[in-house]
């Protein structure tokens, strides 16, 4: 089971990659958010992630206003929310694993809700999950309303070393091709295995080795194809428009909001305002 695991992961990645391909289709749509410069969206999203991650581990209510950012990206960008949430769920086991031990390790009671005692562990567990949803949602929405290619090109113009940018793009382009080769090889093994368990450690090692060699061969062929079309280390693209006023506005507004929401607990402020006005 464990040994077949990584092939299954490859397969899952391949399938997921196809749906990342669907994210590229979303990225080709048009909306005010789509029209923003990729750099502006990348900066604001990075600021968002830093702000969300910087909160103390028991905070939840102060995080609530941050949900505005992914909500705005999703709704203004016309992105299918349900599909996005499915993608968040794919990564959810990681967050669960990270937060899992918090309720066991930290049993200090911190709050009483009716008959229930809430411990610090459960609170931080909830906080981990909430942050996870916020950050993954924002990152996915960013890719879905920008497109991987424009995003990486934007990051490169922001100072990401060209080597990394090129690596990212090629990872994105060929992940599926390589995963597909892996799946085909696994199928070949299965067909000749009969009833016996197909993937012994020996077979598995050889399979992975072949996959690596094939990938190296392919890399060489791709490189040759690039050289024959004049590649010299730089990937040139037909440049889009320069950074304009609305991009500055987006960056300024977004970052200002995160700073304010980080400094003051807006949710409880609103709460006090409401209860204040009621009483």
């Amino acid at each position: 089971m464990v040994r077949t695991g990584s092939v299954e992961i490859l397969k899952a990645l391949a399938v997921d990659w196809i749906s990342i391909g669907r994210m590229d289709e979303w990225a080709r749509r048009d909306s005010p958010v789509h029209r923003l410069d990729a750099r502006a969206k990348a900066i604001v999203t990075l600021g968002f992630i830093v702000a969300v991650m910087s909160f103390p581990r028991h905070d939840i209510s102060a995080l609530v206003p941050f949900i505005l950012y992914p909500v705005i990206l999703t709704s203004a960008g016309g992105l299918p929310a349900r599909e996005l949430f499915k993608k968040i769920l794919v990564a959810a086991p990681f967050a669960l694993a990270v937060g899992l031990f918090n309720p066991l390790l930290d049993r200090r009671p911190v709050a009483l809700v009716g008959p229930l005692t809430i411990t610090g562990g459960w609170l931080s567990f909830a906080s981990v999950l909430f942050r996870f949803v916020l950050t993954v949602w924002a990152a996915l929405a960013l890719v879905a309303c920008t497109g991987m290619y424009r995003l990486v090109a934007g990051l490169e113009r922001l100072g990401l070393p060209r080597v990394f940018a090129t690596q990212l793009l090629f990872l994105y382009r060929y992940l599926f091709v390589v995963a597909d080769e892996g799946v085909r090889m696994k199928r070949g093994v299965d067909l000749r295995a009969g009833v016996k368990k197909a993937l012994t450690l020996r077979v598995y090692g050889s399979l992975m080795g072949h996959l690596l060699l094939r990938s190296l061969d392919r890399a060489e062929r791709v490189h040759r194809a690039m050289l024959s079309r004049g590649f010299d280390g730089e990937i040139r693209v037909i440049r889009s428009k320069p950074f304009c006023a609305k991009d500055w506005l987006f960056v300024g507004g977004g970052l200002a909001f995160f700073i304010i929401a980080r400094a003051w607990n807006l949710a409880s402020a609103v709460g006090r305002l409401m209860t204040g006005s009621v009483s």
């Binding site: 590229d24 060929y174 040759r224 040139r236 693209v237 037909i238 440049r239």
Partner: protein, 247 residues
């Protein structure tokens, strides 16, 4: 007298693992000519093509593109005259959309973005693929991929086209379209293939390669009709010639 587009003189190449891939290959191709390079698996066809586009370099002998003798130093420059369509289009198409992929070569050659857009439009129109310009290449059918791969090369306006197994993995309709397309080109064409029926339809001359040497050369009708020669070099006399009555 027509000018010589490409000339190879006594070319030798041995791979680092000791495989002698080319053992004294010489030939000459005239401008505008379509020639076929045929031979069994491992005859040296692909190795030879890599030399012709300046990706491998002669260990002995020379490759001339037009008047220039190809060297490591002038390869990048000389490559501009030569466009190569690789066997697996997935190796050749790596940009996010078809249009960007076709623009890759012209942009590298220093063409302005506005001009590149024009090059892209005309290259895609030439192969009948204008309608897929904004699609990602990996979503295309094998036939469309092949046509787009051809467009990526045409966009660089090469004088010589090298094609490695152009009809592999194509369905009959895709293959037919490709043949019509290749016939319509005015470029010098060098086609390495096992598809001898395709050779009969496109090429005038053929080189038979075996064991890293050219073992026969001549007009297509004469060479491919020689049953004994074909069989001796892992090939087969094409059906299309068997049923064709001599005029």
């Amino acid at each position: 007298m027509t000018s010589v587009a490409m000339e190879v003189r006594d070319l030798y190449y041995t791979y680092p693992d000791g495989t002698e891939a080319l053992r004294g290959v010489s030939f000459r191709v005239k401008a505008g000519e379509a020639v076929a390079l045929v031979g069994g698996n491992g005859a040296g066809k692909s190795t030879l093509l890599l030399h012709l586009v300046g990706l491998l370099f002669a260990q002995r002998g020379e490759v001339h593109i037009g008047d220039t003798c190809l060297t490591r130093e002038n390869a990048a420059q000389a490559r501009r005259a030569v466009g190569m369509v690789f066997q697996d289009p997935d190796d050749q198409l790596f940009m996010p959309t078809v249009a960007e992929d076709v623009a890759f070569g012209p942009l590298n050659a220093g063409v302005s973005p506005e001009q590149a857009v024009e090059h892209v439009a005309s290259a895609l129109a030439r192969v009948g693929m204008s309608h897929v310009r904004n699609r990602p290449p990996y979503r295309l059918s094998a036939g469309e991929k092949r046509a787009v791969a051809l467009a990526t090369v045409l966009a660089m306006s090469p004088k010589i086209l090298l094609l490695d197994e152009p009809s592999s993995n194509l369905d009959p309709r895709g293959r037919r379209r490709l043949i019509e397309l290749l016939r319509s080109f005015e470029h010098t064409r060098i086609i390495a293939t096992h598809d001898l029926e395709l050779v009969v339809e496109i090429c005038a001359r053929v080189f038979v390669l075996d064991g890293g040497r050219i073992v026969a050369t001549g007009p297509v009708g004469e060479i491919l009709n020689d049953e004994e020669l074909m069989r001796a070099h892992a090939l087969e006399r094409p059906h299309i010639l068997r049923h064709r009555h001599p005029h």
